[in-house]
């Protein structure tokens, strides 16, 4: 394997740079390894295309930013998340097992949706390779000078983006994207039910109870804001707006909107 600045292991480049450059060098190696390019013969485009598509598909599956796997990137549970299916649903264990069953079903659904997503990645990779080969055939193959290789890379990115854009705009992909997020979120909420049970067992407030308290506080703040506004509202109506300074100083009405926090204040803090 050819050494690159990213294979020495001693560098401290950020992961994003490392990943992008490693992928770039991998592509260049694929370009350079074309049998036809080495012998100046008619290129074996189909073999070349399948190599490119395979590499590309692998990257698509692993890159968190490349599509619907964003749910997993945020720490939502993915297919790889361990989920105990629970005890055998008999006797006293029957009720908890029902929760586990629901989570298990969601996990299965998530796996199925990710399988569908993988099929889209495969289609995008194939389409990208086909577009790229068509462009290469039109230009007569790869030029392995530095500028030629960089131009080839730009072409590859254009083809990949075009293939990606044509797939991810389709109705079935958009639906799948939403289903993946919805299922991952539902699974997260199922897991939280278990955490809530544990919280109750320890006498701690659950998420729902904390939310209920927050709602009460918000309601009280809103009411307080309304009462304060009513108590301080002047009798006279405001004059029409204008972009000019007021001629005389006068008391300004408090805002009519509700919920202004009592913590609102003018502050003077450290400058940056």
């Amino acid at each position: 394997m050819m050494e690159t600045p990213f294979t020495t292991g001693s560098r401290e480049a950020d992961a994003a740079f490392t990943g992008a450059a490693a992928r770039f060098f991998e592509l260049l190696k694929t370009f350079a390894a074309q049998p036809s390019a080495a012998r100046g013969q008619a290129p074996d485009w189909s073999s070349f295309g399948s190599t490119l598509a395979g590499q590309f598909e692998q990257w698509l599956r692993s890159a968190p930013a490349a599509g619907a796997s964003f749910a997993a990137a945020a720490g939502f549970p993915g297919a790889a998340a361990a989920w105990p299916p629970g005890a055998v649903p008999l006797g006293p264990a029957a009720a908890p097992a029902a929760d586990a069953q629901s989570a298990w079903e969601l996990l299965m659904k998530l796996g199925q949706l990710q399988g569908e997503l993988a099929r889209h990645w495969s289609a995008i990779a194939q389409d990208s390779a086909q577009r790229f080969i068509a462009r290469m055939q039109a230009t007569g193959g790869a030029d392995l000078s530095t500028e030629g290789a960089l131009a080839l890379y730009e072409t590859w990115v254009e083809c990949a983006e075009a293939a990606y854009a044509s797939t991810v705009r389709k109705e079935d992909f958009c639906r799948l994207q939403a289903q993946l997020t919805n299922t991952a979120t539902a699974l997260l909420l199922e897991q939280r039910k278990q955490a809530d049970k544990l919280a109750r067992a320890w006498g701690l407030p659950t998420r729902e109870e904390a939310d209920a308290m927050q709602r009460q506080i918000r309601e009280l703040k809103r009411e307080l804001g309304e009462r304060t506004a009513q108590a301080t509202a002047p009798a006279a109506p405001r004059r029409p707006a204008a972009q000019r300074p007021k001629a005389t100083k006068r008391s300004r009405p408090k805002p009519a909107n509700a919920g202004r926090s009592r913590r609102s204040r003018s502050v003077r803090r450290g400058r940056r």
Binding site: F17, A20, F24, A73, A74, S145, Y153, T185, P255, R268
Partner: protein, 373 residues
């Protein structure tokens, strides 16, 4: 005839050396600073902070002022311009570095520039909704500035999602806004080119809201996945192989820091935004209500400058261009700029064309711009 093996060897040596040079510069650029214009916090409410940006000559003296002195000083300052940025990114992109800072240009033009910084919502903010952001947050900032300057109305510049908030606020409080500028602001959230809109239309917002605040990394991954090869691969390869000098590397690192420095999103506000704007397109259908009040864009009668990007992959131009059809402003100017979404804030266009357009448009619409003493 060239030897393909030798060509490949030279290629890897050359590219490897370019990459090594850029990596060395990147290591030197690790500690670059973001934000360049002196500013101070003048008001806050919960996580929201209102900053005032200071002209260079006044910056040194500002720290010593008292509150009442500050208020009387505010009345002597230039015309106030409030900048309302999006919730989904940090506003320092508008003041990233001196040569591209929109805020610095506005300050230099004589405006007293204020900026709403929404801060980072925590778990206690998960129920904070759009009306809270609009009335307590943006509304609180507007009221503070009007009082400090002794004015009845101010100029408002809304950016991206902050532009949507600005439109809603102006519709609800038309007398408080003298002139409105929107930058990359979507109005129609269901245009055919809008990939983000297509993706989120099937989301179960009830489930999402129950799941709690949404981490910034999640939204960031979503934005990157709109064009994953350009945004997670090509731009790095271009930098690494392009023989960028130290300054270009530092510019890149500042941008990179901003892109990946995304705040979390309050669950209630985000899900309302997705449901009401993206899924139901309420703003243009006239069905949006905030805090029990209808948001009617026809109530926006202030002079309006609408700037948007022709190559915007996040807010497509068609989503912005239609604004004039829905507002009640007789004085409406729309202008498409030849750049992308981020380019509106940091590109050469951002450096030259955009500030100039905003400043000249505002100057032409009343109010004395007094130079800073």
């Amino acid at each position: 005839m060239s030897d393909p093996g030798a060509d490949a060897g030279r290629l890897f040596v050359d590219l490897g050396s370019r990459v090594a040079e850029t990596l060395a510069r990147l290591r030197l650029a690790r500690d670059v600073r973001v934000g360049c214009t002196e500013r101070r916090a003048v008001w806050s409410d919960q996580k929201t902070t209102l900053y005032e940006y200071l002209p260079e000559r006044r910056a040194g003296a500002a720290a010593a002022r008292t509150g009442s002195a500050s208020k009387s000083a505010a009345r002597r300052k230039g015309r106030p311009l409030l900048v309302c940025f999006a919730l989904v990114n940090r506003p320092y992109i508008l003041d990233l570095q001196p040569d591209t800072s929109l805020i610095r240009r506005l300050v230099d033009a004589g405006f007293t520039v204020y900026l709403v910084d929404w801060g980072d919502p925590d778990d206690g903010d998960r129920l904070r909704d759009l009306n809270d952001y609009l009335e307590q947050g943006l509304g609180g900032c507007v009221r503070h500035i009007l009082e400090a300057h002794g004015l009845e109305a101010l100029d408002l510049l809304g950016v991206c999602q902050g532009g949507v908030f600005s439109l809603c606020y102006t519709a609800l409080h038309p007398r408080r806004i003298a002139n409105l500028v929107t930058l990359t602001t979507a109005v129609d959230f269901q245009t055919p080119e809008d990939l983000l809109s297509r993706w989120v239309r099937g989301l179960d917002t009830g489930l999402l809201e129950r799941a709690g605040n949404v981490p910034g990394e999640l939204l960031n991954a979503l934005f990157l996945s709109l064009m994953p090869f350009r945004l997670t691969q090509q731009k790095y390869v271009r930098l690494l192989t392009g023989r960028a000098d130290q300054r270009a590397v530092e510019d890149f690192v500042r941008m990179e820091r901003w892109i990946f420095d995304s705040p979390p999103q309050a669950a209630a506000a985000l899900t309302q935004f997705v449901r009401w704007f993206y899924q139901e397109n309420r703003l243009i259908h006239g069905t949006l209500e905030l805090g029990g009040r209808a948001v009617d864009l026809k109530s926006v009668r202030a002079p309006l400058l609408n700037l948007y990007a022709r190559a915007d992959h996040i807010v497509p131009p068609a989503a912005c261009a239609c604004l004039g059809r829905y507002v009640g402003s007789r004085d409406y100017t729309a202008c498409a700029i030849d750049t992308g979404h981020i380019g509106m804030y940091v590109s050469r266009k951002a450096r030259e064309e955009i500030p100039e357009r905003i400043i000249s448009w505002l100057k032409a619409r009343g109010g004395q711009l007094r130079p800073h003493p």
